[in-house]
Symmetry: C2
Subunit: 398 residues, 2 copies
């Protein structure tokens, strides 16, 4: 595994910037302003801790690439190979609002505010941030949105990204094995999750050494954990300090970050022998996931995949236990657009990567959900995660 | 410690809601729409994992309290004591955009869209979310902002909150002691931080038991860690897998979450004996922090505190090494408004809580920053965090 690069190449980022400039030219725009932290990392490789201090990237149709950052981040940005102009403001809130420094950068690039698009209306209200939208800054009725274009660009993963996702799946698989071996009755999910995350990260560091770079502030490179007991009947329960008991259903997750990318792996485990009711829902969940994966084919719509799973739930009278759609794109963020959802008309194309995770949530019993990461290929799909799915392997001896 | 309650009381939340209704009446408004996840938790005690599926709270001037949530969160919300109406939408993106379900809730409460304020322009662009702003939804030129009022409300901490912050400071102090004892040359900051977080969480659980509830999805209750070496010259460096070396400067952090609240504790440590240069910056940083803490007095402005520290830096020719203001409010979020910043005119009032953390960042040498959590009292201030600040205690034998 160590011979594969664990960073995105400069050439790949240049390809992304070229795609942005081609879009600006098609739309007859002068420039694009990006406020989303993940999109900034995606385009120019600048990873940072997001705070109330606004950060923005400006890309001009003529090749300009500039950033507006707080003084605190100035030294981080000046050396970036893809940035040719940096405007540093002293502080937020400061004596002059940072958005006026952004206006300076846009003016310095010769970009007319009326020919400027943006990914969002302005810097998001992170922590204590307050400030004008881009439209308010320039006293315009609205600013054209690049959100659809950018979501489409990010949804098609390159071979470099797929290689990172394969590495992530490898370490996520190992971490999940460590997690499963650590689950015992009487201990809590938070303790076991932390311990397994730590052990898996140590194993990865031992192999990858200092070549590994963490791109997220305060996030562990490998994050593995689970929810146990009746609370798993909620798809997104918060953590509890309740000790694990025999008979508990467990829904896990395992993600390993590689250069900011991760695959998604989740499994349903049972502490002790499954009873008939648990087995009933477990088997239906597995079948629904198979149907979802099989439906992923280039040229079909996202909606078709979700409809295939929905039809299976309906035919088996299981809709009362369904709380969410079949899956979502992913890569840099835990969820990304598009969605395997009956309301999403996006056409599946080679390079798109989705979680496939139809779930059943039975009040009083618990949740049943496996999640695997599936790549759309030229002629079908490939499942990138490979942890066992069958109940035999997923039973924990209490 | 265990006799102190570790949840916010229903009475306290009712007081917060009453304050909102009084504001609505003063402003002659019918209702308020809240999109910010932390503000929703603050007002009605609903903690959840934020995703691209929008969530909103609507508070009416006549006592209405309702939520719009995805089906996935419906079971979480129906039992909340302070919610009397729940509108559940099936899924995002879904066949009908969730914002139309929000319009249904507002209509069901008899709130006129022209008499509605909001904390933000709309649901924030989390992950793959896209949708109309509230103004676009109702075809209005703008929606009045409640951001200033809400920031002010949250900035004044009740005695219940201060009790939680004291507990957080207690566990944060213990966790920092565990962290400092774990730092050895040759190991990496990520490994040691994970291990110490795990050990400190286990110690806290052993004492608090199942009374402890985690309010954040995927966040460890106690998070302790540090950055080491020349990268500490950046105030917000990302993690590295570089082993710790003798002579390294180390900047730590330690936070323990209690019912969603935390105090902030950060220290500068040195591996081995400090040299003269390290000692020079360390001593100036300590002095600047003393000046900042002493300047916190009710009736003064936030700007005055930052100016006092700024004047000290200027008098000692240290401004080239300054990258940020003196501190920020905190409580539920890592940073909150207002800010100890020369541009912030907010008057300090009893119950406000700030980090005081003036720092020096010297290229090639590293960063120097202690952070303590300071409560504004009726007649001065009280420092809630109490880990030793002097170099003697903060030196690690290599």
């Amino acid at each position: 595994m160590t011979t594969t690069p664990i960073e995105i190449s400069l050439q790949e980022r240049q390809n992304r910037l070229t795609a942005v400039r081609e879009w600006l030219q098609r739309e007859e725009l002068d420039g694009l302003c990006i406020f989303n932290q993940v999109m900034i990392a995606y385009l120019v490789g600048y990873h940072f801790q997001q705070t109330e201090r606004p950060v923005a990237l400006v890309i001009g149709a003529l090749g300009q690439q500039g950033m507006m950052v707080p003084n605190l981040e100035g030294d981080h940005v000046r050396d970036l190979p893809l940035i040719n102009e940096v405007v540093v403001y002293p502080e937020y809130p400061g004596l002059r609002h940072p958005m006026h420094f952004l206006a300076d950068l846009i003016a310095c690039f010769g970009i007319s505010p009326t020919k400027l698009a943006a990914d969002q209306v302005g810097y998001p209200p992170v922590w204590g941030y307050r400030g004008p939208t881009l439209a308010e800054l320039f006293d315009l009725p609205r600013v054209p949105s690049a959100a659809d274009f950018l979501a489409g660009l990010r949804s098609r993963k390159s071979t470099e990204i797929v290689a990172l996702l394969r590495q992530s799946a490898y370490w996520g698989n190992l971490a999940h094995e460590i997690l499963q071996r650590s689950i015992v009755t009487g201990r809590t999910e938070i303790e076991i999750g932390q311990e397994a995350s730590h052990a898996a990260t140590a194993a990865m560091f031992a192999q990858l050494g200092s070549a590994y770079r963490n791109h997220d502030w305060g996030v562990t490179p490998i994050h593995v954990g689970f929810k146990a007991g009746p609370e798993t009947a909620f798809p997104h329960p918060l953590g509890t300090s309740r000790p694990i008991q025999e008979g508990d259903l467990i829904v896990t997750w395992s993600t390993a970050k590689m250069a900011g990318y991760h695959a998604e792996l989740e499994r349903t485990l049972i502490v002790g022998e499954a009873d008939d009711e648990q087995r009933f829902y477990f088997d239906h969940m597995c079948r629904a996931q198979e149907i979802g994966i099989a439906a992923i084919q280039p040229g079909r719509r996202c909606a078709d995949v979700d409809q295939a799973v929905y039809d299976y739930w309906a035919a088996n009278d299981l809709l009362p236990y369904v709380r969410h759609h079949t899956g979502h794109a992913l890569g840099m963020e835990i969820h990304e657009a598009p969605f395997l959802d009956r309301g999403d008309e996006t056409i599946l194309a080679p390079g798109m990567v989705f979680s496939v995770e139809p779930g059943l949530y039975v009040p009083g019993i618990g949740g049943f959900r496996h999640s695997d990461t599936v790549l759309v290929t030229e002629d079908g799909n490939e499942v990138l995660t490979y942890y066992p799915r069958e109940l035999g392997h997923l039973t924990i001896q209490p």
